[in-house]
Symmetry: C2
């Protein structure tokens, strides 16, 4: 069979990695795919630099439209990122009847519904294993491997930058800003780290995972994203002493009350597997009603791990390229006519346990007042720790049982207004998981 | 589209689970598969008992041949186990042009080459996700998700019975026989536990994983299987004190010298993820040259987790049933004409680190003699521990650096013959992994 002809949009880190893997492992890949997979054209910013990498084996252009309209090309690999030209090029590739492989979580999280609908109309695949958790085949696992299950929930560490920062804060006692500087030095964080540290990148990925797990539309605008930039090193240390670790978890859960979609720093018991995922590694815990909890772990980013996912998608495309479209796995794992518009729950309705920390004047009646406000809001306290701070103050930590977040917020507003409360109240969520 | 018609061979634990999942999750499954998946006939031993489970919705027979020759049936699910009737029925189903889903690792590990060849000739799928690690989609991960990689090695805990026994021995200080009795009481071990505790079941599964990882023929007869029945609780305790845990690992590795295929109790550093897989859980660590190490974790056995894998395979069949066979993923992930007959290494040529324990008379010159024999066999010692036993003896533990197993065996034969050696020398392998 003739080789699969690939057009690359972008030849940066992931694009370059894809080219390296396709050439370096060409033999092993064709042992699997039964045909070669060959990059024949690439749209790049810097022609000279690109030529230095790929030589004259690949037609180079600065115009992505030229690649997506190239009649020789069977499949377009989009690795430029962003949602401007990437979106136009992908939509045009689909219009041209070409399959698409992309690593672009931001684009799919915002415009996935439109892109998948267009692809369906044309009968082409849009594969995106590389968009979540790098080379870990977690999209394939959810989309196909767990197809027997009603997925109940999933929770993942799907941003390596923040996991690296949290590991450094815990293991070396660094502040957030010190650990961020370290991550930037090592290339784990970008110069403008906002997308990573504020949870936006994880929220993009969670949006996709939730659609794959439950068969719901992609809806990034309903995903709650909270980052780690305001985490204090004291809270990491307190958590550690209490037997917990703080991780930036992306959590989605389906219940009769709706779908939870939330990214936030979370205390989890230190003995859980997820708690022991350190550094820039990723892991996703997926629980199905039949299979129970399953975990997928590996490198979530980087040139070669991400290329591993891009090329696995290309092998799928190589096998299915000429098959009638009704044999393809649907883009989100569920048939388009079975996508379910279950409501996404507002954060106020989410039920979680909470870690609350505040500084108060150390005088009689303080605890009674706090306990009364919590009790009035139906918040039950599992444990409480108090230690003196200086001569006149005390630091208090409450670990609550499960409570409705709206009630917690109401109670915290009241507590924050009390005259003896001398700090902003820190509120972190806790999950027991597995 | 009309529903996929399934014939079940066996309605025991896994067969019953498959029926329950297909009926209980029928709606979610057809949201994914785009069509129903319906059990229309089943071959069972006990008609009355079967009727109690499935009522009159399924045609029941005691003759498997009747099911595999039933013209209404699209796909046969073989969950009777063993390699007598199961083999005949599967071969006849293939001859009849039916797709096959099976959980039968023993059969595939011994007769997989013949079965896959017959299936290829007929253009039918033989899917076996349920044969390894229950509901964890690790076969799909290796076969498709990591298709960009030259897999380098994998190491797995793929027998829940032995992992449960080892966990109990470590956590509760039980002997092997005490822990086995406990496992039998809880239903984790069978009345005749030989296949599990002697590593045969894990070797069956490893045989399949190695073929999927490297594209080599299935060759159970070359797989080294060593179980845990002779493991002493002292060794578990010593390992723990030295910072290791003992797990029954199934290991396969590809190097220029050939393929390693081995199942044996193994010391691994206690902080590794695999070391923290407790109870009856399974986990497989797969390392590819591009993706790096990845890990897959979950329940490796039981009615519903195993049925999760069977039904996921059925969803794949439902999508691909009518597609031309050249669009199917090859049975072992590699095209048949690209299967590579790399030699399997004899155990004597395997290189590993070793834990050696022996009791000796406590007198001058003993250590010198031992050290000389080890040095002469090119075995370098990383650390050594000695403690007195009674008045006149001492227990010695050596942890070696990497050495060739044949050299270790030669040295141990010499050591065993020394007049001051008062016990059988315990030899366990150590792997650093990740």
């Amino acid at each position: 069979m003739s080789s699969l002809k690939v057009g690359l949009l972008g030849l940066g880190v992931v694009g370059g990695g894809t080219w390296k893997v396709l050439t370096g492992n060409a033999q092993e890949i064709s042992r699997r795919a039964g045909r070669g997979i060959e990059v024949v054209a690439a749209a790049v910013r810097d022609l000279e630099k690109a030529c230095g990498l790929v030589g004259d084996t690949v037609r180079l252009t600065q115009d992505g439209m030229q690649v997506v309209r190239d009649p020789e090309i069977d499949v377009v690999v989009e690795v430029v990122g962003g949602d401007t030209v990437a979106r136009e090029w992908i939509m045009e590739a689909i219009a041209q009847g070409k399959h698409v492989v992309t690593a672009n979580k931001a684009l799919l999280a915002r415009h996935g519904n439109e892109i998948f609908a267009a692809a369906r109309a044309q009968g082409v695949m849009v594969a995106f294993e590389a968009a979540v958790a790098g080379g870990i085949p977690v999209i394939k696992a959810i989309r196909e491997g767990l197809a027997a299950n009603r997925i109940q929930w999933l929770a993942g560490i799907i941003n390596g930058t923040t996991n690296f920062i949290l590991s450094e804060m815990r293991l070396r006692g660094l502040s957030f800003h010190e650990a961020l500087a370290e991550a930037q030095l090592l290339g784990y964080a970008e110069a403008d780290p906002t997308f990573d540290v504020e949870g936006v990148d994880a929220a993009h990925k969670l949006t996709l995972l939730a659609s794959l797990a439950f068969g719901i539309p992609v809806q990034f605008n309903k995903t709650h994203a909270e980052g780690i930039s305001t985490l204090a090193r004291e809270d990491i240390a307190h958590a550690e002493r209490l037997g917990y670790r703080i991780k930036l978890l992306a959590i989605t859960r389906r219940s009769e009350r709706g779908i939870e979609l939330r990214v936030h720093p979370t205390l989890i018991p230190a003995e859980r597997l997820l708690a022991n995922v350190e550094g820039a590694m990723n892991a996703v815990l997926v629980s199905g009603d039949v299979v129970g909890p399953t975990l997928y772990y590996g490198q979530g980013a980087g040139e070669l791990p991400t290329a591993s996912a891009v090329v696995a998608d290309l092998v799928d495309v190589a096998r299915m390229q000429a098959a009638p479209a009704d044999h393809q796995v649907p883009h989100l794992g569920f048939r388009a006519d079975a996508i379910d518009d279950a409501p996404v729950m507002p954060m106020d309705d989410v039920v979680s346990s909470y870690y609350l920390r505040l500084r108060v004047e150390d005088r009689p009646g303080v605890l009674a007042d706090l306990a009364r406000i919590l009790a009035d809001a139906s918040i039950s306290i599992g444990s409480m720790f108090q230690e003196p701070h200086g001569d006149a103050d005390a630091d208090i930590i409450f670990l609550s049982h499960e409570a409705r977040e709206g009630n917690v917020n109401d109670a915290l507003r009241k507590i924050q207004g009390l005259p003896f409360v001398k700090s902003k109240v820190t509120r972190l969520r806790m999950e027991n998981l597995l």
